[in-house]
């Protein structure tokens, strides 16, 4: 699997979340994702970017276009250095929220992407990686 393009965007304010969505849309169009898949990865990115901002206190998102065999994909890595998640299983549960949201963001992002990986160390931060393949 090779990475053909890498971009990094900061997530520090609500405006950045909008910018992340716009960039993800552009990259999704670039690798030729259909309208439904575009919308899915954009929505997943929106959820994770807002998590990074609201719960992680801001961070960065790394966007990569990856190529494996004949397939192209979009891989997004959201990283923050916030308080981390103590119980990942609980955080992934639908309708559980530690803030004021609907509690569907993490689980929803997982269902909206082909690959989902989360790692978190309490006290040092969280990193979520998702990918959507064409």
């Amino acid at each position: 699997m090779t990475v053909t393009k890498t971009e990094t965007l900061p997530v520090r304010s609500g405006d950045d979340v909008v910018r992340v969505r716009q960039r993800v849309r552009a990259l999704a169009v670039e690798i030729g994702l259909g309208l439904v898949d575009q919308t899915k990865i954009i929505t997943a990115a929106s959820e994770l970017a807002r998590n990074t901002l609201d719960y992680g206190g801001g961070g960065d998102v790394c966007m990569e276009i990856v190529q494996a065999a004949m397939r192209k994909g979009l891989r997004l890595t959201f990283e923050d250095h916030g308080p981390g998640i103590a119980d990942i299983e609980q955080a992934m549960t639908d309708h559980y929220t530690s803030g004021g949201g609907l509690g569907l963001g993490l689980g929803g992002a997982k269902r909206l992407s082909n690959e989902f990986h989360i790692e978190s160390t309490p006290g040092s931060g969280t990193r979520v990686t998702i990918a959507r393949w064409k």
Binding site: G14, G105, R111
Partner: protein, 291 residues
């Protein structure tokens, strides 16, 4: 011998005025300000003359502190100029260059005046650099502040424009949402809708999200809150304009809207008419059929 840079500079600027002005005008002519066609040469020369006169007077009043009282009128003139530059659409470079392009003519004049006296020359150059840099920065500050003012005003206008509540029929309101739904805008939207429900004595409010590019859990939550608030006021909501890709995404997200929803605004309007006991009929059959 102790050399006062300010004094040297002031003397040079006063004595060599004509030559410096010529060189400054020439430098500005070479720049891109005139070529862009946003300003006429006569206008530029008037500004050059006014600013130069004030620089000379300010320097004569003593001191190099561009924030001091002696520079007050010069600061005002420069602020006016850069404000008009910002509105006329000049680039930041063009605007800053108006002041910075004066450096070379003044340095040249100092060189002519103080040929051989290296200490005095260095003092004069340093003094000129200090004053002009400060003036250039002030110009940029005003330039940016004016731009920000324009952007801020546009932002407010967009916020107001993009949340209209329209009356479709007696007791039926529509709220076409366009663009990104952040918390600040959603607040305005909800307030407008609830007020309109009171004003129009509405029974049904149609929230159309055709123009909302992404519906994530936050947008869904905002919608749910708006719907719940409208319901408390006695109005039923219909959400319309849910495109196929948005519908699929919402299912995967696990969001349930628990409101009547329709694919298009027209469908939603038909439902609203039906619920309020009305129906749309053709006035009469077309002329040919009647015969």
């Amino acid at each position: 011998m102790k050399t006062d840079g300010a004094e040297v500079l002031s003397k040079t600027v006063t004595q060599d005025e004509a030559a410096i002005l010529d060189a400054w005008n020439a430098a500005l002519r070479e720049g891109t300000s005139l070529q862009s066609g946003r300003i006429r040469e006569a206008e530029l020369q008037t500004q050059v003359k006014a600013v130069f006169g004030q620089i000379r007077d300010a320097l004569a009043s003593g001191g190099l502190d561009a924030d001091a009282a002696g520079f007050a009128s010069l600061r005002e003139t420069l602020a006016d100029i850069s404000r008009s530059r910002a509105i006329q659409g000049f680039t930041p470079t063009d605007t800053a260059n108006f002041v910075f392009s004066l450096k070379e003519p003044i340095f040249d004049a100092l060189k002519r005046m103080l040929d051989g006296d290296a200490t005095a020359l260095a003092a004069g150059v340093w003094a000129a650099g200090k004053v002009l840099d400060r003036l250039g920065l002030q110009t940029m500050e005003v330039f940016l502040a004016s731009r920000e003012e324009v952007i801020g005003r546009q932002g407010q206008e967009i916020a107001e424009l993009s949340t209209p509540v329209v009356r479709l029929w007696d007791g039926i309101l529509a709220l076409p949402l366009i663009g990104t739904l952040d918390s600040a805008r959603t607040g305005v939207v909800m307030e407008n809708l609830l007020q309109a429900i009171v004003d129009e004595e509405a029974e049904i409010a149609i929230i159309d999200i055709t123009g909302v590019p992404t519906v994530d859990t936050l947008v869904a939550q905002h919608l749910l809150k708006t719907v719940a608030a409208a319901r408390l006021m006695g109005a039923d909501c219909i959400v319309s304009g849910i495109r196929p890709q948005i519908a699929q995404t919402m299912v995967h997200l696990g969001v349930e809207l628990n409101v009547v929803s329709k694919a298009t605004l027209a469908d939603a309007f038909a439902v609203a008419l039906k619920r309020t006991g009305r129906k749309v009929v053709r006035q009469q059959a077309p002329a040919e059929e009647r015969r």
